[in-house]
């Protein structure tokens, strides 16, 4: 165990700012300290660095009482990167980094000059300030100055590095650069890092352990995935926030919720503008909708305002359909960042629009159907066909209501089941297997919610929302299939 705090209490004079903190840090660990302003983060760091004494409890460094270390021997073990350091005098970068060797110099006449020189150069290279070594500190930008001070701390060759908001003065690329290097050093040099962090998401990404402080008390100490729990964080920070998962790495992401008071009205779907040409069908919403889709453009979860169903010829084939779609939009002067874009070979004029108004939500379903590639999913393994051609059922479901992500998935399932049933009842056949098809090979679905108005926890098939979705999608899909079959506008019941 490198550092161990046992029930440590301390602060300035008689004022106890941090109370009863117990942590332990091993080599190769990255511990983040989180907490709102005034929660005692900096005080705790000062107690660990020896600037402030602990009034109660014990601190062990390498299994030895921290207070038994002399200033110099302590500085060989612990280095500190403060928030901001400045000098009234114009020191050169190299001179500043060289000060980091102070704890290792025992006499006035230093003996190991060459070795020191090497360590200093190494530290400057690691923090990428070697090129500035003959420049004055004050001639550098805030971020570069911070890296110079970090080089000084590294020149101390510490086993424990303490950082007080290390990314404070850095722009985003340097923040990530600094933390990536720190993370690497932690692994390579078996260094331990304790850092006060402001940004919850940076803490979540880089820390092995997080200590959460509130008014000087230890609220939690654990892995980010456990400490960063929505209710706990919201209580400590007194802020509305939402936990998500990082899209790439298994770490939590915290997002903050702005409070708005635009009185949620029940007429967003009514104010959609729907324009239709033979080339494309476009829906403009006045506000962005949270959307889950499998569309060509904007797939996955996203917030979108423009929904496009584009007609393409049956022989449409591009290796990069997304890029082709983007350039199509650019030519039409539409910003693709706001767009969900689907393609279909079906005739857009045969699109079916079904609208449902219930007491606490509204629903708009639009279906276009082209059945040339109808597939029975249960038999599709017989088929040798792997290339997908265009012939698609595109299903759009717009909900004016507030849905958690689980309800999106349930709505997606409900809509799909309704579609399959519609195909079944219309006896659409898979041309290869000659059995009833369950869809086409390139079907797209979109579930889109305004996230205003009534909150719906579920959208399964027997919930009020699910029932309406199922009904509307079934109805719309059947009609669309009939229109595609060329059976006119008659709806069979």
């Amino acid at each position: 165990m490198l550092l161990q705090l046992k029930n440590v209490t301390g602060g300035y004079n008689d004022l106890e700012i941090v109370k009863n903190i117990s942590i332990s840090v091993m080599k190769g660990q990255f511990l983040g300290i989180l907490g709102p302003n005034g929660s005692g983060k900096t005080t705790l760091l000062k107690i660990i660095s020896g600037l402030l004494p602990a009034s109660k409890g014990e601190i062990f460094l390498n299994e030895r009482l921290l207070s038994s270390y002399s200033a110099k021997t302590r500085a060989r073990e612990i280095a500190v990167l403060p928030q901001k350091t400045e000098s009234a005098f114009s020191y050169r970068v190299k001179e500043i980094v060289a000060l980091g060797r102070y704890p290792h110099q025992t006499s006035f006449f230093q003996t190991k000059r060459m070795e020191d020189e090497q360590i200093i150069n190494e530290a400057m290279k690691q923090t990428k300030v070697f090129e500035f070594k003959d420049k004055f500190l004050h001639a550098l930008s805030g971020g570069e100055q911070q890296r110079v001070m970090l080089a000084q701390a590294l020149a101390q060759q510490p086993k424990l590095l303490l950082l007080d908001e290390p990314t404070n003065h850095l722009d985003i690329s340097f923040q990530i650069g600094l933390l990536n290097s720190l993370k690497n050093w932690v692994k390579q040099k078996s260094l331990a890092v304790i850092a006060i962090l402001h940004d919850l998401n940076i803490a979540s990404l880089y820390c092995d352990q997080i200590l959460l402080l509130e008014e000087g008390r230890q609220i939690a100490l654990n892995k980010p995935s456990i400490v960063m729990e929505e209710v706990q964080l919201a209580k400590v920070y007194k802020t509305a926030l939402k936990r998500n998962e990082h899209p790439i790495v298994p770490k939590p992401l915290i997002t903050f919720l702005p409070t708005s008071d635009d009185g949620a009205t029940r007429n967003i779907i009514d104010s959609f503008s729907i324009s239709q040409t033979t080339e494309m069908m476009v829906i403009h919403s006045p506000v962005p909708f949270k959307t889950l889709s499998s569309a060509v453009l904007g797939a996955g979860f996203s917030w979108k305002r423009i929904f496009i169903n584009r007609h393409v010829p049956k022989n449409y084939h591009y290796d990069d359909a997304q890029a082709e779609f983007n350039s199509f939009l650019t030519a039409k002067k539409i910003n693709s960042a706001e767009v969900i874009g689907m393609m279909t070979a079906a005739n857009l004029e045969k699109a079916v629009i079904v609208e449902k108004k219930e007491s606490n939500f509204s629903l708009l379903v639009i279906v276009t159907a082209g059945l040339s590639n109808a597939v029975d999913v249960s038999r599709s393994y017989f088929s040798t066909e792997t290339k997908s051609t265009i012939g698609t059922i595109n299903t759009w479901v717009f909900i004016e209501g507030n849905l958690p992500e689980a309800a999106f998935v349930q709505a997606l399932m409900t809509a799909t089941e309704a579609k399959v049933k519609a195909l079944h009842d219309e006896e659409v056949k898979d041309p290869v297997t000659q059995t009833i098809a369950t869809g086409t090979s390139t079907d797209c679905t979109l579930i889109s919610a305004s996230q205003t108005g009534t909150h719906f926890d579920y959208a399964g098939t027997i919930t009020p929302l699910g029932k309406t979705i199922g009904h509307a999608v079934y109805e719309a899909t059947r009609t669309a299939i009939q229109r595609d079959k060329g059976e006119g506008n008659v709806i069979k019941h």
């Binding site: 403060p82 400045e86 005098f89 020191y91 102070y102 060459m114």
Partner: protein
Amino acid sequence: MPNLFILKFSTNKIIVRYVFSVIFLLMALLVGIALGSVSIPFYQIIMVILGKTVYTPFLDHVEPMLQNIIWNIRLPRVLLALFVGGSLALAGAAFQGFLKNPLADPYTLGVSSGAAFGAVIVLFFGVTIPLLGEMTLPIVAIFSGFITLLFVITFTKVINRQMAVETIILTGIIFSSFLGSFISLMIALTGEELRQIINWLMGSVSMRGFEYVKLQLPFFIAGILILLFNSQELNALSFGEETAKHLGVNLQTRKILILLSAALLTGSAVAVSGTIGFVGLVIPHLVRMLWGPDHKHLLPLACIYGGAFLIVADLLARTIIAPTELPIGVITALIGGPVFAMIMFQLRKV
């Protein structure tokens, strides 16, 4: 190996720097002795100095009257200027590094006034502390200067925990004027020798003789040695007390050593020459501009140039409107005032 080359190259540069500085100082010494009411050629000065110290027959080449002027009047005068100037510049550099405040100097911090206050008490009440003898004057001056320093620092810390540059100087000036009025009061009460006292207060290195040089020398040596052994610590302190602690500086001990040695230098200088302002401000600033702020070199170089500066200032003081002699403090303040203003201006810009 490129590293070795750089190391060697910079070492050479440093040697050149010191050789140049020492030659400059020796020139100042020679000119300081040579010029005055009677001008003396350099070779005669060298003859007398060698004759008195190494080889007596050299003295035969110089008139006894000139010998007397050189050895008993001018040499102790320039030597005293050298030590006083060196002491004040060193003390200034130490205060500046310690307080990370480029405006700090014995004068602006009120340490000179504190030392003068102690010295005036000794001089005009004729106090002699047993066992100390003639050392009473410098030791009391050192002690009162040190106490004043501690008061100024503590007072500033109470007002402003960050120890802002302006707050320290303001506090120093308040203490300085407060003590100055006490000195004036004491002078008014004693009534006699008024002009001479005022002259002493404004600072002078004239008519002091070797006794005063001997009086200051031990404190000078002690002060410079202690400070040189704390040059790395002063570098660390230039980044603030917290950074110094993080780097492993034993603050409690180092603080006392640095402040005490700066007080030794200031107090002993004031005891032999009165209050001479701005040397400790101008010289470290100049050396930093030329060769950077590293205290390992700043301290010895400031000492050399402080000595040379005061020799030249003294030379100007006694020759500008000869035969009248100006107080040396007038010359240093004439140069120091604008430099003070300039540093302040630079600080604003940053």
